[in-house]
């Protein structure tokens, strides 16, 4: 049984300095009762940080599937592709 950290370790990333994923309004997350982005993301990008009252975005883990773009109940995630040549590169596909 491999952990998500081990799984993501199999993918080659070229990380951009700037996040291609942006929470449009943290206030919306604060009032979100389900916070389902914490579960449906296959790369554990999103975490609700209780002490800061905000959703943290580990964009460097993103595998560019787009689930959060469609899955966020408030469409509160601005989602674009990483800059050309950045983000993930699969070995097998």
């Amino acid at each position: 049984m491999s952990s998500i950290a081990e799984k993501l370790y199999t993918i080659r990333y070229k990380v951009d300095e700037n996040s291609h994923l942006v929470i449009k309004d943290q206030e919306v997350c604060l009032h979100c009762t389900t916070k389902e982005c914490q579960d449906f993301c296959p790369a554990d990008v999103y975490h609700w940080v209780e002490k800061d009252l905000m959703t943290s975005v580990a964009f460097e883990n993103c595998i560019e599937c787009g689930t959060c773009r469609i899955g966020c109940p408030a469409y509160n995630i601005e989602w674009v592709y990483p800059k050309g040549g950045h983000g993930i590169t699969y070995k097998f596909g």
């Binding site: 993918i11 389902e36 579960d39 296959p42 590169t89 097998f92």
Partner: protein, 434 residues
């Protein structure tokens, strides 16, 4: 780049984009293919099966040079219970000649296909994101990229930017997909010695097997797969995003859970995970297909929801739509008319082909699944079927007629009575035969 003008800009180096670029370049059009990854395929995954017919229509005898994995001679369908399975499969030597389909891996395959377009004369540009479509007087006239001075002008833009299709949305041809129109598939490529694969799956030489399975997806609408490659297995499971949201399940935990099923554990054990991947699959079906062309643009492949999820067909529909788009553009080029009317040959070709007709056949299925209880369809019914098979085959002194009654009762109770089962069957049949 700014001063150059092309006949066509193709956005996306997947099967649809490469098919379009290849077909147009071969006909002598001035084509540029733009891909955001380091190379075509860098961002792409599928189950994956590559079918002969539709690629052969583009590149005859491609199998002599294309990077393919194994020739599929057997297809298995498993209905899983918790610790059990009811299975159905078909193996046939006839699938070898002519070839029906192969397993494949997209990093190698997409690079090869895009290189064919390049050899035919397409200018391929990688590591470049198309950020928007350029428009003049309502007509698409080119693309803006994230390169410096990165505007490219063309008579027509082929939008083949995949399932997320930000360009399709920017065009306004399709609204945002709903969570019940897409599935999220998570996949692992698992390395295993060739001999072990051949022994475990009863294969000789280059033969391969595909397995699809339903059930055991925590009551979510979904399908799992296990395909044999040369010295790896492609293993994954896809579930409807709307169900994933409801159940609060982490996709990779679902994947790990399915691996523990006795039918799969034995086949996978000893293998080493070489790659984890995730991708959306368009599953809206017929009613989710957007308009396919307009003034100065066409849209192909996943970006246009051209996936037949019942038959796990996608790359072949993508390739065919790319070819049709290219053929229509070649005609438009001859007539010098890239308006919506000038490009209507694309819509017509799609409408007259298996692409449209197959999706139309299953047009009711999306609503059927949307309106059905996924725990019934993807958990209770598979369980009941397994229990029925178990009871029928268990010799324990209970009479056969009593066993048959028990088996039937189990299945009807799962659906809430005989009438409900009959109605469900009838609705399902209609949904599959629209």
């Amino acid at each position: 780049m700014a001063t150059e003008r092309f006949d066509a800009v193709v956005v996306g180096g997947g099967p649809a984009g490469s098919a379009a670029a290849y077909t147009m370049a071969k006909a002598g059009l001035k084509v540029v293919l733009i891909e955001r990854g380091e190379f075509p395929g860098a961002k792409n995954i599928f189950g994956g099966v590559i079918y002969r017919k539709q690629l052969e229509d583009i590149i005859p005898e491609f199998w002599k040079e294309a990077p393919l994995e194994r020739q599929v001679i057997e297809q298995r369908m498993w209905i899983l219970g918790d610790q059990s399975a009811v299975t159905l499969s078909h193996r046939n030597e006839a699938f070898k000649e002519p070839n029906n389909c192969w397993t494949g891996l997209r990093v190698k395959f997409d690079q090869w296909f895009a290189s064919k377009a390049e050899q035919a004369g397409s200018l391929n540009i990688y590591e470049t994101v198309v950020t928007e479509l350029l428009r003049e007087n309502g007509k698409v006239v080119g693309v803006r990229t994230d390169r410096d001075e990165g505007d490219l002008y063309a008579e027509v833009v082929v939008v083949a930017d995949g399932v997320n299709s930000l360009l399709g949305k920017a065009l306004g041809v399709h609204r945002e997909w709903q969570p019940n129109e897409v599935s999220l598939a998570v996949k692992e490529v698992i390395a295993m010695p060739k001999e072990k694969i051949m022994d475990r799956f009863n294969l000789e030489g280059n033969e391969g097997v595909t397995t699809e399975f339903v059930g055991n997806t925590m009551g979510m609408a979904g399908l799992g797969f296990l395909y044999t490659n040369q010295d790896t297995l492609s293993f994954g499971v896809g579930v409807m995003v709307s169900d994933l949201k409801k159940k609060h399940v982490k996709p990779y935990e679902l994947l790990e859970g399915v691996k523990q099923h006795p039918m799969l554990r034995r086949l996978l054990q000893g293998g080493e995970t070489k790659e984890y991947a995730a991708h959306l699959i368009p599953e809206g079906g017929f009613h989710s297909i957007p308009p396919l062309s307009g003034d100065g643009w066409v849209i192909c492949g996943d970006a246009a929801q051209l996936v037949n999820f019942v038959h796990r067909e996608g790359t072949n529909l993508a390739m065919t739509s790319g070819r049709f788009a290219a053929e229509a553009i070649i005609e438009a080029h001859e007539h010098g008319d890239f308006s919506r009317a000038g490009l209507a040959g694309y819509d017509r070709r799609v409408r007259e082909s298996f692409v449209h007709k197959d999706l139309k056949k299953y047009k009711g299925l999306h609503n059927f699944l949307r309106d059905s209880d996924p725990t019934l369809m993807f958990d209770k019914l598979p369980q009941a079927l397994n229990e029925a098979a178990y009871q029928m085959l268990l010799v324990d002194g209970v009479t056969k007629s009593e066993k048959q009654r028990m088996a039937m009762r189990g299945v009807t109770e799962a659906t809430g009575g005989l009438m409900s089962l009959i109605k469900l069957g009838a609705r399902g049949w209609r949904a599959m035969n629209g």
